[in-house]
């Protein structure tokens, strides 16, 4: 190591602690200030059916990466099948189950792993995995080409949405140009989503 490199290394080591502290959990500002999105949550391992009378859009049947099948037309939304976990914790490490990647370094209270994928119907899927090792959660979000959006979240929380989830969803919404109904002003989308959930 050169003398110059040693000086620089020592100098960097002594960066003020407040920066080190703040940087430990810092995740960028892209999703920091966002309007809370209305999302359609479908509980894991349940069948969800939702009446959507009055809507007009092309029917679609889509397979989510988590294994669930969603049928969605202008009258109803029907989601069935057990949802496979998209993240697993093994030996203190977090793995993305689709390709068994070790994603531990990406996951914390405020940070997340993200995987984007477009299926043959042109529907974009975004997987987010985040949280501390004892509270790892994931979500799959589908962005349809006509502007609709569907998500399935499996979150290890009983209260507010985790920070990683809020930031990740906001960033994905922005990337795919999703405009929530209350901002877009599409009256036909203004309704309370209350899926009827029936246990298998």
């Amino acid at each position: 190591m050169t003398q110059t490199a040693r000086i620089i290394s020592d100098a960097i080591t002594d960066i003020a602690p407040e920066y080190i502290e703040k940087a430990a959990d810092y995740t960028g500002t892209r999703g920091a200030v966002r309007v809370r999105r209305r999302k359609w949550l479908i509980a894991a391992a349940l069948v969800a059916a939702l009446l959507l009378a009055g809507f007009t859009f092309a029917p679609v049947i889509v397979r989510m990466l988590n294994g669930r099948t969603v049928e969605w037309d202008e009258d109803h939304l029907f989601s069935s099948g057990p949802a496979a976990d998209l993240a697993e914790v093994r030996d203190g490490r977090v793995y993305f189950t689709r390709d068994n990647t070790d994603i531990t370094a990406y996951c914390s209270e405020n940070t997340y792993f993200r995987y984007d994928f477009q299926d043959e119907q042109g529907i974009s899927h975004v997987i987010l995995v985040g949280g501390e090792i004892d509270a790892v959660g994931w979500t799959e979000i589908l962005y349809f080409q006509d502007g609709r959006r569907l998500s399935h979240a499996h979150l290890a929380t009983e209260g507010e949405d985790p920070a990683w989830y809020v930031a990740g969803v906001a960033a994905a919404d922005e990337d795919y140009g999703y405009v929530p109904p209350d901002i877009a002003g599409r009256d036909s989308y203004e309704f309370q989503v209350t899926p009827e959930i029936v246990e298998n």
């Binding site: 190591m1 050169t2 003398q3 110059t4 490199a5 040693r6 000086i7 620089i8 290394s9 020592d10 100098a11 960097i12 080591t13 002594d14 960066i15 003020a16 602690p17 920066y19 080190i20 502290e21 703040k22 940087a23 430990a24 810092y26 995740t27 960028g28 500002t29 892209r30 999703g31 203190g92 531990t104 370094a105 990406y106 914390s108 940070t111 792993f113 993200r114 501390e132 090792i133 004892d134 930031a167 960033a171």
Partner: protein, 186 residues
């Protein structure tokens, strides 16, 4: 997970649960720092364990606040020391790449040794950071203190790898200008 104050209390009580609590709360982050520098999981684990021991040996009398920064600094120092002990002549970790970026930036004229010592350079870097927006501060610190790789930074900051590289390059140029403005002959 325990609050830091409770973990510190365990250290002061000489209760071995303190180490377990420390590992549970900060183990993953410590491992990440060590692996960024060492690129070797076994060495990284050893450094993290040594850092726990160092914490055990120094608390008390130390009562660090924040505990996280104190622990991370120990991990980083131990990892750098081990890295140099292991890899004389072999340079390939995120830490090396990050260091070389700054070396190229600061030592353009080859006169850093004469112009600055580490303490003065550190003071200047802190002043430089104080003048940046928060995201730039964090990008600089994650790259050069935590030795995060470009893909990790891209994921953390939700920007492309190319964007990360460009922004870091601009930050280094800003740092160079800052030092020149402060009268250092670079």
């Amino acid at each position: 997970m325990l609050e830091d104050s409770k973990i510190i209390a365990l250290f002061f009580a000489r209760a071995e649960e303190a180490i377990a609590a420390l590992a549970e709360k900060y183990g993953a982050a410590c491992g990440g720092i060590a692996r960024n520098i060492l690129k070797n999981s076994l060495d990284a684990e050893e450094c993290v364990n040594d850092a726990y021991l160092a914490a055990w040996n120094t608390i008390p009398p130390q009562n660090p606040n924040p505990l996280k920064t104190y622990l991370f600094r120990i991990v980083r120092n131990l990892s750098i020391a081990k890295y140099h002990a292991n890899t004389a002549g072999k340079r390939n970790s995120n830490y090396d790449v990050a260091l070389e970026e700054l070396e190229d930036c600061l030592a353009a004229s080859g006169t850093v040794e004469q112009a600055l010592d580490a303490k003065e350079l550190s003071r200047q870097i802190n002043r430089f950071l104080a003048g940046l927006d928060e995201e730039s501060q964090m990008l600089f610190v994650r790259r050069y203190w935590y030795a995060d790789g470009i893909p990790d930074l891209a994921a953390r900051f939700q920007i492309s790898g190319n964007n990360v590289s460009v922004r870091l390059s601009r930050l280094r140029e800003k740092l160079r200008r800052h030092l020149r403005k402060e009268g250092y002959s670079l």
